[in-house]
Symmetry: C2
Subunit: 353 residues, 2 copies
């Protein structure tokens, strides 16, 4: 029997609860589909700092590199917000992405018909939305040098090399080939030098994908168009911070950030995680929505393990659960037949496998 | 009789059409209120480049500095997109802001009850929205050094000094004092050094305004919250590029970017302009919505000339026009009784003065 090694990074806040539910569903689909998943728990974030003094212990990096894929919960919380910068959970996360080399962050925003009323946007605006933000993840202003601060000044550098742009552009075009074959590249080329290089380079890469239609949009306009008419987008190609902003915005099209998964790929080992954070305010109460994490597990099966059929099984089980009217608290007002806890939600989805 | 000197920069695309309507309304209110407005046309943008070879001729700067306020239309268009960077209309605009020293860009997003159905968001989400983005306008990544590009690399610097943050924070707190007394400062302090200084400095300035409630939000979350629950915001204090993105996003709450004005202040002479662009695609057709510009003229009366009553007159005339069902094409589907041209719209509003 085929067997895969999955690194689990549960992290802080609601991380452990939602990962547990994803494991429940993964186990169900593995036994149904006939493969074995072996899990290894790895420490990261605030909990790692509390135990080891480091938000990203070396064993976590080597454990992850030794796995077939990483399933990630969430990290951070106020408790650790006043630590020195390099000890903060977020620094661990950024270093982790960099160490693994996952330069491409895929953030699909899909609106479930079953939850069409959950969005703060009108149903006719969001019905049928199916877009994918392809965000560069280990470059740009998140990592650029020089950076620093003193008592009177703070600075960061938004920098991209041609090679960094080329590789993320290829990812976007390849993904577009499997979808509606449209890439919209987001920049601020009317102001930023780095965006001019971005735009030129994307144009060049586009020549290798004659079937894909490329357009460009300024980031301010994109923030507007995403809520004016989100259906115009197929793949949105962005740098690190623009993608951070726009993908969070896009997540609201679906009605709850608790629904949306992500995949960070481009290197040997990929990282699969919900796009929401660790939500310390609701941790431990059993009310978090595990769907984003379960859906991330499905992306993991599809992209990392090539278990397309098993991934589809999960996606269908989620849809079935939603159309039957099961909802966690965050979506309780939206056509709920029954409001359930985090772990009930996991069990129901696992059951539908 | 009191008399004011207004510099008019019509600019490109729809700029001339919408400024003409604002002048119509200004003249009406001036004669009603008993003051005189003297206008001087100044060249800027693509049209200035075409005539003088420079998107921002020196006479425009001195003309503006010699006026009591600047009313600005819009600049730019594809025609000039391939000029060398420093000849492009946008470069002229950035230089103009810098030369005048208008470091505070105020962008109110108000939802007119009359147009509650025009937004792509649900009426219950946007009804009563009344927020103000206070955007730093002459610093940050728009101007930071080093910046540049070569064949393989592009870079820009997001930099803020403590002094720059202090002065924009004061603006935000002062404005909050005249409103609901809440400031939400937007940054990315979990990643950026410059944001850490931003957050600390804003905290310090806040101490001088004990009546104002200060909160902080990461920019990605802010992009989400703006559409999840925009009513939570009163004043949003942001840096240059975050404010560019978030204010464009916020503009969609109102249903049309053709409605929203802005004021750029902080120096001797302020600049008043619609937040939309030059829309070359609809220029010359007489279908542009002049309300954003007319509303900017009202801000000019209020902030630059201290003609509060005249400003209110304009605001009321706009509301009356909308509630009577007059709409330009962009809003034709939303409870229109009559669809009118740019110039008809200007005349109707002028009539209601
Ligand atoms: C926690 C933070 C550093 C992170 C980011 O900005 O990348 C998060 O917002 C995300 O999008 O995954
Ligand atoms: C045209 C462009 C340079 C400008 C900016 O980004 O500041 C515009 O988007 C604005 O917001 O006024």
């Amino acid at each position: 029997m085929k067997s895969y090694k999955i690194a689990l990074i549960k992290g802080d806040g609601i991380g452990p609860e939602i990962i547990d539910e994803a494991v429940k569903v993964l186990d169900a689909v593995a036994s149904y589909s006939g493969f074995i998943l072996k899990y290894e728990d790895l420490l990261m974030g605030g909990c790692a700092y509390d135990i080891t003094g480091d938000p990203l212990p070396q064993e976590t990096i080597s454990g992850a590199l030794n796995s077939d894929a990483v399933l990630f919960g969430a990290i951070g919380g106020e408790k650790w917000d006043n630590l020195p910068r390099e000890k903060r959970p977020e620094s661990g996360l950024l270093r982790f992405r960099k160490e693994l080399g996952v330069y491409a962050n895929l953030r699909p925003a899909v609106v479930y018909d079953e939850l069409i009323n959950a969005s703060s946007l009108k149903p006719e605006v969001v019905r049928g939305v199916d877009l994918m933000v392809v965000r560069e993840l280990i470059g740009g202003i998140y990592f650029g040098e020089p950076k620093g601060r003193d008592a009177t000044k703070g600075w960061n550098t938004m920098v991209y090399t041609r090679d960094e742009i080329v590789r993320i552009a290829h990812q976007a075009f390849k993904i577009a080939m499997t979808r509606s074959k449209r890439v919209c590249s987001i920049d601020k080329a009317n102001v930023l030098d780095v965006s001019q290089l971005w735009r030129e380079t994307v144009e060049e890469v586009a020549k290798e994908y004659p079937d894909v239609e490329l357009s460009h949009m300024y980031v301010d306009n994109a923030a507007m168009q995403l809520i004016r008419d989100p259906k115009q987008f197929d793949v949105m190609l962005t740098g690190n911070i623009f993608g951070d902003i726009l993908s969070d915005e896009a997540s609201m099209l679906s009605g709850s950030i608790g629904l949306l998964p992500s995949a960070s790929i481009g290197a040997k080992i990929g990282v699969y995680e919900p796009i929401h954070g660790s939500a310390p305010d609701i941790a431990g109460q059993g009310i978090a929505n595990p769907i984003a994490t379960i859906s991330s597990a499905s992306m993991m099966l599809r992209y990392a393990l090539n278990e397309e059929e098993a991934a589809n099984k999960i996606d269908n089980a989620i849809k079935k659960t939603l159309s039957e009217g099961y909802r966690t608290g965050d979506l309780a007002q939206f056509d709920a037949k029954e409001v359930c806890s985090t772990s009930e939600m996991g069990s129901i989805i696992a059951n539908y496998i």
